[in-house]
């Protein structure tokens, strides 16, 4: 199955792309998306603990099971606002 992955902030710079399509085994969890990136991009390994994930624009735990066509967001700690 395929999912769409959106990368933000530092993650986008490390991967060099904002968006990717990823082929996964059916029944894969969010954790396997993180593992995929940590393996492919060593620079990302130190960040995985602080990164939050979303599925279809809602925050989700790493144990959440993905479905065909899901939109996955990999979100570094946020820094909006000011002061």
């Amino acid at each position: 199955m395929r999912v769409r992955v959106l990368l933000f902030g530092q993650l986008k710079d490390i991967v060099g792309r904002q968006e990717e399509s990823l082929e996964l085994e059916p029944g894969s969890k969010l954790a396997s998306v993180m593992a995929h990136y940590a393996e492919r991009y060593p620079g990302l390994q130190g960040l995985t603990k602080s990164v939050a994930c979303s599925i279809n624009q809602e925050y989700a735990p790493r144990t959440a099971v993905l479905r065909e066509g899901d939109e996955v967001g990999l979100l570094p700690p946020v820094s909006g606002g000011r002061a």
């Binding site: 939050a52 925050y59 979100l75 570094p76 700690p77 946020v78 820094s79 909006g80 606002g81 000011r82």
Partner: protein
């Protein structure tokens, strides 16, 4: 930085907006005005000229825009339930911002000031923890993504705690 293709000029929900142009404070205040209110608060987050003493040139804000608007609206609804305030308004600006420009505005209208201050404080603190917006700071000698605050412990996306002994 390449901007996302589907970048909307402006996104709006019932109480919130994500904009790319300078934020108009008067508009927000006028929208909040109500004869039953005794308090109207506008908090402005402003781009500072330094980070820990290092001179900042300008900032770029980016967001997971549709999700950011949803998360802002959730905070707005939560504030209306949690505090005795009549109305709230959250506006965040994206793109390149210069020193002194306003990046975020929280507006609260309420019959009494205590609840308005509390709601306003809670909204800006919560926004900075959970709304997916990031800023890149540009200095004379380079640029870095600002350190965000760690996601709260009760956050739904919080990774499993590391097992003892691992780091």
């Amino acid at each position: 930085m390449t901007a996302s293709k589907s970048e909307a000029k402006e996104l709006r929900s019932e109480h919130c907006a994500i904009v790319r142009e300078p934020i108009d404070l008067r508009d927000i205040k006028e929208d909040l005005e109500h004869p039953e209110d005794g308090a109207a608060i506008l908090f402005e987050g402003v781009v500072r000229n330094n980070t820990r003493g290092r001179r900042t040139l300008y900032l770029d804000y980016e967001a997971y825009e549709s999700m950011a608007l949803n998360e802002m609206e959730k905070l707005a609804q939560a504030a209306l339930e949690r505090f005795k305030v009549r109305d709230v308004s959250l506006v965040h600006r994206l793109g390149r911002l210069q020193i002194g420009e306003t990046s975020v505005v929280i507006g609260v209208g309420s019959p009494h000031r205590a609840a308005a201050f509390e709601a306003c404080r809670w909204l800006i603190d919560s926004l900075k923890k959970t709304v997916p917006i990031w800023k890149k700071e540009y200095f004379e000698d380079g640029a870095v993504w600002a350190d965000g605050e760690a996601f709260p412990d009760d956050h739904p996306s919080k990774p499993e705690p590391a097992s003892p002994g691992t780091q």
